[in-house]
């Protein structure tokens, strides 16, 4: 309910009558993501122009959010403000491109911010290609509220990312994860949700029972997770808006875990353990109908749908060592796609459909990796004592995962890495954190 309201207020509208320069042929400014960006693009983001007293109080934070998003993507380098020659005093004044060329800014962001007494915020923004003396795309106007200021910033940063890369952004998104406290042999776990950058952490459960591996619904409005609230691992469904949850099971003497939504948002695939054997099942949330997808004496777990819903990638140890398999979404014959040395687990299909991220364990180390959906072109992106549980950014360009350190004080944190293997960084959380699941872009 709340999310819908926000979405309505964050509407973007093209600014009318862009200046003449913007109508020229598009400049050469373009970031190509395929091979990974080695040299970040120099960008100048002068503090947005406050057009009234209310805006004075928020322009610094808003500018910072946009700057942090772009810089942390690894694609941009923000030119420090003390190098600026020009001051942007008015959003509507002509841009002195020569001054920005002189400090080698290839891109320039200008924005004007206006507020109203009721908390409404309007941001007009333009993206400039400094060396072609013009704009990249048209001016845009974003409307939001002071309470959702960071989302406004993420929306603007997504727009800039999208215009310069030609791909959708990922900044206006959330991550649901497990927040952890306490010693290694008595960890307390609770579900939490936050902005993708670690801001606005909110807890969804208390820490009275173990919770594991939350997974967003395709629209980001619900979360599947595993809880020990009954004393046994069982899959629950949580409504993010009302923060209420209920078990999916029928209370029979089985254990269920590793749930994930199908792209239709109605079917759930998960693992069910009975008599020591773990197989894959689906549950239709609307009808309650349960279907068994695998029946082998081996372990079948960690299922993930292809974006078109036609296939499921999962982990099985049917050969004796955990490997990755793909089968039709209705079950049936599975083909193994992992072929390298070591053990493979937790495969996750990219939202673009082109790659499968996975956890690999080999020679005493853990890796996050990605391979094509036929298993070819395997790439290991990380290496550490324990990396596991990848989740894709909504644009399929960044992977977030759990990294746990070694030893008696060992503890987990969230990290992210580009699918190219570049730009490895820790995601700041208030406590230990594990099992991230990235939402789609917010509406």
């Amino acid at each position: 309910m709340k999310i819908i309201t926000i979405a309505a207020m964050l509407a973007a509208a093209a600014l009318t009558a862009p200046p003449a320069a913007a109508q020229q042929a598009p400049g050469p400014l373009r970031i190509t993501l395929e091979q990974g960006v080695i040299e970040p693009l120099p960008i100048a983001i002068p503090t947005f122009v406050a057009e009234d007293a209310g805006a004075e109080a928020i322009v610094a934070e808003l500018t910072q959010v946009v700057t942090d998003d772009l810089v942390n993507s690894g694609l941009f380098r923000a030119i420090p403000a003390d190098a600026f020659i020009s001051r942007v005093a008015s959003f509507d004044a002509p841009v002195a491109y020569a001054d920005w060329k002189a400090i080698n800014a290839q891109a320039l962001v200008t924005a004007g911010v206006a507020t109203r007494g009721d908390g409404a915020v309007t941001v007009r923004f333009r993206l400039h290609d400094v060396f072609s003396d013009g704009e990249v795309g048209e001016g845009l106007q974003f409307a939001g509220t002071t309470t959702e200021l960071r989302r406004l910033g993420h929306k603007i940063a997504d727009e800039i990312y999208s215009r310069l890369t030609g791909e959708a952004g990922y900044f206006d998104s959330r991550v649901v994860f497990v927040s952890e406290t306490g010693p290694k042999n008595a960890r307390l776990k609770r579900l939490a949700i936050m902005d993708y950058d670690g801001a606005n952490v909110r807890y969804l459960t208390d820490d009275s029972s173990i919770v594991l591996a939350p997974r967003f619904s395709p629209r980001g409005d619900r979360v599947l997770y595993t809880s020990y609230a009954s004393g046994f691992p069982e899959v629950y469904l949580l409504d993010v808006g009302s923060v209420t949850s209920q078990p999916l099971g029928d209370g029979s003497s089985t254990m269920s875990f590793a749930p994930r939504f199908a792209p239709d948002g109605n079917t759930v695939v998960y693992s069910l353990s009975s008599g020591g054997n773990t197989d894959l099942y689906t549950l239709d949330l609307a009808t309650g109908a349960r279907q068994r997808l695998t029946s082998a004496p081996s372990i079948e777990t960690a299922p993930s749908y292809s974006p078109d819903g036609s296939q499921i990638v999962f982990e099985s140890d049917r050969t004796g060592i955990p490997q990755i398999y793909v089968m039709p979404a209705s079950g049936g014959e599975a083909r193994r796609i992992s072929s390298g040395e070591g053990r493979y687990g937790t495969p996750v299909w990219s939202p673009r459909g082109d790659l499968i991220a996975f956890t690999k364990q080999n020679a005493g180390r853990f890796h996050i990796g990605a391979m094509r959906t036929d298993g070819s072109d395997e790439r290991l992106l990380t290496a550490s004592f324990l990396d596991e549980g990848p989740t894709w950014a909504p644009n399929g360009r960044v992977i977030m995962f759990t990294r746990e350190t070694q030893g008696e004080d060992g503890a987990p944190d969230l990290w992210s890495v580009d699918v190219t293997g570049r730009n490895l960084r820790r995601v700041s959380t208030p406590a230990f954190a594990s099992d991230p699941s990235w939402s789609p872009l917010l509406p």
């Binding site: 042999n185 004393g231 020591g276 372990i299 596991e388 008696e408």
Partner: protein
């Protein structure tokens, strides 16, 4: 003297078990931590000196079996331990048990949950083969969520790859 106490305890256990419709207590995440019973001289009901107590089962009979890396096969040592557990459970029919399966930290969360389920089931099946009614036994997997030892080397991992029989319903059960 001793059998009488045991019989009394068993009866009490049955009564208390009746108040719990499923016959199963909640799984104890801290299972395996040594009980804190003060053992002094004579038999204190429910304490480790009481052969019909959960504490006795845990400390003297032995409540756990260990597994090799990635395995759920019972070793000879494990079978001996489970045979002792079965004999005790036969002598103390008022108790039910939850068998917890655990894994070490090597491996993904999901795989370790499945592996813990296998280990718990292996212990359960052996106890059933020794004549314990399956209705008295339930299994739960904790995967790698509840390590007993916290170092990151084989010395600790070996202790963490375990199936622990946690009694429920008995006097003095933890």
């Amino acid at each position: 003297m001793r059998p009488m106490i045991a019989a009394t305890l068993a009866a009490a256990t049955l009564l208390s078990a009746c108040t719990n419709p499923t016959g199963f207590g909640p799984g104890s995440g801290a299972a395996g931590a040594p009980g804190a019973q003060g053992v002094a001289g004579g038999i204190v009901p429910g304490s480790a000196s009481d052969p019909a107590s959960a504490a006795y089962f845990q400390q003297t009979v032995g409540d756990r079996v260990l597994f090799a890396v990635d395995q759920s096969t019972l070793s000879g040592e494990a079978r001996t331990a489970l045979t002792r557990q079965a004999r005790w459970l036969q002598q103390n029919p008022g108790f039910t048990a939850v068998i917890e399966g655990h894994a070490d930290e090597q491996g993904t969360r999901e795989y370790n949950l499945a592996l813990g389920a296998r280990r718990a089931a292996a212990a359960q099946e052996f106890l059933v083969s020794q004549g314990i009614a399956s209705s008295r036994l339930r299994t739960v997997t904790y995967g790698k969520e509840r390590p007993l030892e916290i170092c990151s080397s084989e010395a600790c991992y070996a202790q963490n790859r375990r199936a622990v029989t946690v009694l429920a319903g008995g006097v003095g059960s933890v």
